[in-house]
Symmetry: C2
Subunit: 419 residues, 2 copies
């Protein structure tokens, strides 16, 4: 059919602080996000009216040695014996959990569901995190050949450079923009602009009596290999998103019930999901994801809108190149024009189509299984005019989008939101 | 609402051989199940008409170091770029994936979906398997205290003995029955009856010139500690299900399309899911699962039937005590009468309500993430009169049920099937 039989609204959305928290596990983070979400519901909610939990998590199995997270999180939220399911699609886990929640209400099974996402990543040493994340790529054909995620996205980066003339500075500008937005987000892990990070380093050098660095501007700073080394050419440290602990949560209801909870619900007008070949060597293109194009097409069609109607979007910037690929796949710009759009400030907070007002995965942080729902949290806040700090966009947002990618693009889920 | 807006049918069902296959990984097993399923579709199917994949898997993360299994399995089935999602709820992973597939069609999102389940368990050493499975229980409050799954179910066993006077021989009879059924199932891992296993051991002893064992019957054999040692009192070796590699697959369609694929579709008339406290010390009862009672109530209500209407069922016998707990939770017998029902042969192939005609997890095997869908495969075959060997029940099955438990009962999903 391709058309949902009921319409769905978000009536509450919240998240934990994103960061590295040695004293917190998945349980703590989830509890924090759930409570933050409840607080956002203007007219309150009886938690006993919540009928099910859909939870996204990538791999508490490998990160914490704990599987079967859904009933545990349901219990912490006081939802036992309600149904609780975990979805895993790598970094798209909770974006797809959100979609499962939407579909569940549309099916008639429930009227009110809770959707969460959680990941606790920082307990493992860096190599353990890299290996665990690499399990979301093709273990046999990629990982054993020595390729981990920075390498996979780096190949997309060089392909973009070769095909569209994209420069390393263009990647840097995506990171600079996202850090600038994240500096206004109190929930962000690195809520500092690149300019502030640069100034901090200069001040530190002066204080230590070392020679004062002579960086002219942010691009100059990010070009300095000592400040911004290569992780996998052309992706450098500031092109990579963060390793993060965090959780996020939204409450979905059948649209006809939404006004019971708030006068300003946000509707999910479209949902789409797609898949792509698992190993990137099987793809006809490295500068576009079939999963994303397919998911976007499905979501646009369901919502009855097109790329031009989208005023703001949270897109999956696990690496800066990923945001540029998304800009093409979502139809926002032609792939050959994305670098110019970033350079011209079109995607900045005061641009024609602000992307990642939250700071994105780059600055807000990327607790992989929480990212999809955290994107929806930002859209909920922006559309209601409630984004903290100076990151609230200056216009009324009637239509927005989230784009959440799993792995190197094996999975993608897109949602379109309307007032 | 609690009522699905569209009705759903199964038009094809198949599985891989269950067993220990050192030369096969998840990919191979899934491919085998998918092809076996396609072969079962009487009028054939154009695989390009399949719109999405819902895949159950417990922890390829820990078993194989491979996450993000859904797009990989979608690609192997030629479904890229269709949506592909993985569900994880421990041993109920694919039962819940089945439910997600049902809900997805009911929502209007799709008309035709594929549901799969897969687990590759035998690559790890026994201790690794035990630890991996234990991650489905409460790691902090149970595993670190030394309790793994045999211990958790053993506590349910002693509680059942204390409360209802259940004897160790009663547990044994569940295993004897299931092995007897599994002996007829060519897909079963241990397709041997306990009597045959006993005879084999006697023959082996004779051949080796050792003293001939004097076991009088199966109960006598299973009472011999040298033949059937305790794993966790009162659960002995033959009370435990198997460590298995395997996969299973079904094709679901909107009911109004079913006749395009077969003249004998099987309808999913009810689906229910529940959760229970994660750690068993938080439960008011150890002889009943709230998750199961809640899931059964939901499924019965949706199907408009009660326990008496169910003619056959596949229930989650990860341990023999689990089948007895299920018999009570599903309302088939009063908890205090389940031991007598087993003893009287009520649950045998020729009994009043045959349970686990496939051999169950005990004899067919328990590749945890594949088990839920494999239960549906057995029901599909039995209701169409196509169960291999002599395990086809002798009456026409109009109404059947599957009961799939995750962990120590943290999750449970129940489906009711009608012709």
């Amino acid at each position: 059919m391709g058309k949902l039989l009921r319409e769905i609204s978000i009536v509450g959305a919240g998240m934990s602080k994103f960061g590295a928290f040695p004293d917190k596990n998945s349980r703590d983070l989830w509890g924090e996000a759930f409570l933050n979400c409840l607080e956002s519901i203007d007219k309150g909610i009886d938690t006993q009216s919540i009928e099910a939990l859909y939870l996204g998590n990538y791999s508490s199995d490998l990160f914490e040695g704990q599987g079967h997270l859904a009933p545990m999180c349901a219990e912490l939220a006081g939802l036992t014996p309600k149904p609780a399911s975990r979805t895993e699609n790598a970094c798209a886990s909770s974006g797809i959990a959100l979609r499962e929640g939407v579909i569940a209400i549309a099916s008639g099974a429930f009227d009110i569901v809770c959707v969460g996402g959680v990941e606790k990543m920082t307990d493992l040493p860096t190599a353990g995190v890299t290996d665990t994340l690499a399990s979301a790529a093709d273990k046999i054909f990629e990982f054993y050949a020595g390729v981990t995620f920075p390498g996979l996205y780096a190949m997309m980066g060089t392909a973009h450079m070769a095909k569209y003339g994209t420069k390393k500075e263009d990647f840097m500008r995506v990171g600079i923009k996202n850090h600038k937005n994240g500096a206004f987000n109190p929930f962000a892990q690195m809520n500092q602009s690149v300019a502030d990070i640069m100034k901090g380093k200069i001040a530190k050098a002066e204080k230590a009596g070392k020679p004062k660095p002579t960086w002219k501007d942010e691009i100059d700073f990010l070009t300095d290999l000592s400040a911004n080394p290569y992780i996998a050419y052309p992706m450098r440290l500031f092109d990579c998103s963060l390793v993060t602990d965090g959780a996020a949560c939204v409450i979905l209801v059948a649209k006809d019930l939404a006004k019971k909870f708030t006068d300003t619900p946000i509707n999910i007008a479209g949902t789409g999901q797609g898949s792509e070949t698992f190993a990137i060597h099987d793809r006809s293109s490295l500068t576009s994801l079939r999963s994303a194009r397919s998911a976007a097409e499905m979501a646009y069609k369901m919502a009855g809108v097109g790329p031009k109607d989208i005023q703001i979007a949270e897109v999956h910037d696990c690496f800066t190149i990923a945001e540029m690929v998304a800009m093409g796949d979502l139809g926002f710009w032609k792939p050959e024009e994305v670098a110019k759009a970033v350079k011209d400030g079109e995607t900045a907070l005061d641009g024609s189509k602000p992307l990642n007002t939250s700071g994105g995965l780059k600055s807000k942080g990327h607790p992989v299984g929480a990212t999809g729902v955290a994107q929806a949290v930002e859209i909920f806040k922006q559309m209601r005019g409630q984004a903290e700090g100076n990151r609230q966009v200056k216009f009324d947002v009637e239509c927005a989008l989230t784009h959440n990618v799993g792995g190197s693009g094996g999975s993608c889920v897109v949602h379109v939101y309307k007032k």
